[in-house]
């Protein structure tokens, strides 16, 4: 069995959530004996050549398909460019011809235009097309629609782009033989999308939540970080440079961080710090907020792991977006106290009942819950927590997906 996995980012050194998920899926398939090749397609300026793998395709920056005024839609443009740029498409089709996969797994819908063209070419040759798997991470068109609150004005152009994403997502769903979602809710939405197709073919549906690879902290790292930054009991917020991360943080911690004592700071890891400081709520009371934030920026994985384990509370103030969050899985895995919105726990079923997790869906309760966590002695996870931890590892989360792939390809197995 051979599967080609199509992404818009390379998987050589996975860092962000999408990369980690795709790399984990590839690894899980390989553990099941599936031959997986990944073709990552991206703008030539997006990643360094050293970060790419052998099959990856760098699209020319001079292509007419790029429109950097709509930078939040670069992924959409990537698919259009791959399908429309004859040289790049030639590379892509050549790879597929050489690899002759049993299935093509689209990670997010972006590269579907090129797959569609390839399928059309195969039809012209009267050859059977590989099975198509749509591996979603979000309901993309909704995510793009909601991002606009954090972006510059330009309502009409944005709406047009969102409409294109919605149409693309519908088409991918209707043409797929298997559909993968991160949460049950999203799987339901995708199922509904698929039912719009009157000539619907039988297809498989599977939920595979985001998860993490097991990790263990290095106590020396934590001691070093605490000494270097003068930390005692600290809350931790992890977020990438994605405006909705800052929106959620301030939405749940508004009107200010005044509930923290003068010597308490929220440790911020990841690229979100700049967005936190540029947020209107931060700026209204910057004199209060600034001394209560310790913005570390991007940090080494080992440091992040140490902080996750050492935090008196991990904040998951996620109020928007689809999919399920890797950082939620990481937080659950550590066994550290977590204060989270209900939205942050989507895709993790019973997580809200787990002993280390407190749900807070209003700013008042979120702030009070965090205050209480900082005031009481750090609760440690019980021995029984190991079962809960296992539930958020890739090993457990991706087993249904591996089984579904096997079922999908069985009749065609060589």
């Amino acid at each position: 069995m051979r599967v080609i996995q199509l992404t818009t980012y390379p998987l050589k050194s996975p860092r962000h959530g999408g990369q980690l998920r795709c790399a984990a899926i590839r690894e899980r398939y390989r553990q099941s004996g599936v031959d997986v090749e990944t073709i990552a397609v991206m703008h030539e300026g997006q990643y360094r050549a050293s970060e790419r793998e052998r099959n990856d395709i760098a699209l020319p920056g001079s292509s007419k398909f790029w429109n950097l005024e709509h930078e939040r839609f670069v992924d959409l443009q990537t698919g259009q460019c791959l399908a429309g740029d004859s040289h790049s498409y030639g590379l892509f089709a050549g790879l597929l011809e050489r690899l002759r996969p049993d299935a093509i797994q689209l990670e997010q819908p972006w590269l579907y235009p090129a797959v569609k063209r390839y399928f059309a070419d195969r039809r012209a040759d009267s050859s059977a097309r590989p099975r198509l798997i749509y591996s979603s991470q979000n309901i993309e068109w909704k995510l793009k629609r909601d991002e606009r609150r954090s972006q510059a004005p330009g309502a009409n152009a944005h709406a047009l782009n969102v409409a294109q994403v919605e149409a693309l997502e519908h088409e991918v769903v209707s043409q797929s033989d298997m559909i993968v979602a991160c949460t049950q809710d999203e799987l339901g939405e995708l199922r509904e999308m698929a039912s719009d197709d009157m000539d619907a073919q039988p297809r498989l549906y599977v939920t595979a939540p985001n998860a993490i690879a097991p990790f263990e902290p290095d106590p020396d790292r934590l001691r070093g970080l605490k000494r270097r930054h003068g930390l005692d009991r600290f809350p931790l917020f992890v977020g990438s440079a994605h405006p909705p991360n800052a929106d959620g943080f301030w939405e749940m911690l508004a009107p200010s961080l005044s509930f923290l004592r003068p010597d308490e700071r929220i440790v911020v890891a990841g690229g979100v710090g700049h967005f936190l400081r540029n947020h209107a709520i931060y700026q209204s009371w910057s004199g209060i907020n600034e001394p209560r934030l310790l913005v570390l920026g991007e940090i080494e994985r080992e440091d992040l792991v140490a902080l996750l384990h050492g935090a008196a509370a991990i904040l998951l103030p996620i109020t928007a977006g689809g999919g399920s969050n890797l950082k939620t899985a990481e937080a659950i895995y550590t066994g550290s106290p977590v204060v989270a919105t209900t939205h942050a726990l989507r895709g993790y079923g019973e997580a809200s009942r787990w002993p280390t997790i407190a749900i807070a869906d209003t700013p008042e309760t979120f702030r009070r819950t965090l205050r209480e966590m900082l005031d009481r002695d750090g609760a440690t996870a019980s021995a029984a927590y190991s079962d809960i931890r296992a539930a958020v590892t890739w090993e457990r989360a991706l087993t249904p997906l591996a089984d579904a792939l096997e079922a999908l390809l069985k009749p065609r197995a060589r």
């Binding site: 508004a254 200010s256 005044s258 004592r261 003068p262 004199g287 209060i288 009070r368």
Partner: protein, 474 residues
């Protein structure tokens, strides 16, 4: 047995005639020194620790002479004919250069140069203080080694005292210019010892009216937030200040407010006892000149934008045009503050100022201030906002009518015994001031009413109330 601890840092560092906030700390400390045995007085040292002061040191600091120890030229009031001589050397040089100096730069640039000069002087002052502090620390080290104990200055003697060690049963008062010295020190003390802490809210102007306080809004927001995590009790000088602080805590989402209590300020006793005999010759001359012909109207307040001196300038321009030499003198007593460069330039260029009908006096002694109050026609207080308005209250203590703005705290401070007018209602101010200038009977009636109904409040009462509020905590 529980003990009182009082942070005297503000009083120690303030060597000029005390402004309202400094007076609050000094008067409260003086009361406790006299009436509360075993009170421990302390000062923040350079490492942020509180060091106990010796009784001798405390008496030295609380003596009136402590606030008259500024450079001699600062203590001399301005000759009326030449108010410029009252101002700082840098300002005088800059203003002279603007008028007579070589036209190297446009005349309009001289005020900027003057302000720059003031900044440099301030920095120089900070450098001198820093150097003195370092010397004191060095002396202390030498003293600790037993080599120079005999040469220790009073400052080093105080620093040589031990760190304070209050318990959770004790009460620590931190009621001076704490945003300047660092509110975090009291927070650290509280965390380390569990001592009950009493802080004071003098006003929330930097937060509620940031346009009148430079860029102080955010530092003050943090200051009051730090207080919320430190204090068991925050006393406010008026209901207005207390309400505003409560509103601020609501706005920023403080989860657990400390107890907020109003403890109204008082008028100083010393002024009631002042007599003109203690005036120096130059002070007596000033008093005679401002009181000549139609007498004077008094405004005691820092010369800054919030205090609305502009309204008075326009009124006095108009009065001078209408009345000529029969226009009473407007006497403005107070330090130069912030945001009045253009107003000061306008005032100096005006005919009414040149005619000596507006006089500005800085660093006025208590004796001269008492005489100015006693001999004035009435006082005015058109400020846009006040936390309390000590001078308005003071005016009543002298039995003098005060016309105030309708800022809520001023109504509290004056017990409703004077006209209260919106600070921008120019016609009403003009009409009311003219009425009380011209009608001796109206003034006499107002003063009789004040004498009959004004309830004076002395610093002892203030101190007893503050102690009472603190003791309620236990």
């Amino acid at each position: 047995m529980s003990r009182l601890y009082i942070d005297l840092t503000t009083s120690i560092r303030w060597r000029r005639p005390p402004v309202g906030i400094v007076r609050v700390e000094r008067e409260f400390a003086a009361y406790c020194l006299a009436h509360e045995a075993d009170t421990v007085f302390c000062e923040i040292d350079s490492s942020g620790e509180y060091r106990a002061l010796t009784p001798t040191r405390v008496r030295e600091v609380l003596d009136d002479s402590w606030c008259q120890s500024a450079a001699p030229q600062d203590a001399v009031p301005a000759p009326i004919a030449s108010p410029l001589t009252q101002r700082g050397r840098v300002q005088r040089i800059a203003d002279w250069a603007a008028a007579w100096g070589p036209k190297i730069v446009p005349a309009a640039a001289y005020p900027l140069l003057r302000d720059l000069g003031r900044v440099l002087v301030d920095h120089h002052g900070a450098f001198v203080r820093n150097r003195a502090a370092k010397r004191a620390v060095r002396a202390r080290l030498v003293s600790a080694q037993g080599g120079a104990a005999a040469h220790a200055t009073p400052t080093t003697a105080a620093l040589a005292n031990t760190s304070i060690a209050p318990t959770a049963a004790d009460t620590f008062f931190s009621i001076g210019l704490q945003w300047h010295h660092g509110a975090i020190h009291a927070y650290n003390l509280k965390r380390a010892t569990g001592v009950r802490v009493v802080e004071f809210c003098h006003d929330t102007i930097p937060i509620d009216l940031p346009e009148y306080s430079g860029s102080a809004k955010q530092p003050f927001a943090e200051y009051f937030t730090c207080l919320a995590h430190t204090a068991d009790l925050i006393a406010a000088n008026s209901d207005s200040s207390r309400n505003n602080l409560h509103a601020f805590y609501q706005r920023v989402g403080i989860l657990q407010e400390p107890t907020l209590r109003t403890v109204r300020l008082a008028s100083p006793k010393v002024h009631l006892a002042a007599e003109s005999q203690v005036l120096r010759d130059d002070e007596r001359e000033i008093l005679e000149q401002v009181s000549r012909r139609k007498g004077h109207v008094l405004y005691v307040s820092t010369f800054e934008i919030r205090k609305n001196h502009r309204l008075l300038l326009h009124l006095w321009k108009e009065f001078y045009v209408q009345r000529g030499n029969d226009c009473p003198v407007l006497v403005l007593v107070g330090m130069f503050g912030w945001g009045v460069s253009d107003l000061w330039a306008e005032m100096q260029a005006s005919d009414v100022f040149a005619a000596g009908k507006i006089v500005i006096l800085h660093h006025v002694s208590d004796a001269l201030l008492a005489s100015l109050y006693s001999s004035c026609l009435f006082t005015v207080f058109p400020s846009f906002y006040e936390g309390w308005g000590l001078a308005a209250n003071e005016s009543l203590a002298y039995g003098k009518l005060v016309i105030t703005s309708d800022a809520p705290a001023l109504s509290e401070a004056t017990q409703g015994l004077g006209p209260a007018i919106h600070p921008l209602d120019y016609p009403r101010w003009r009409e009311t001031i003219a009425y009380y200038i011209d009608d001796d009977n109206a003034r006499a009636t107002a003063e009789a009413r004040i004498r009959a109904t004004y309830v004076p409040r002395h610093w002892d009462e203030f101190s007893r109330d503050l102690l009472g509020a603190a003791r309620e905590l236990s």
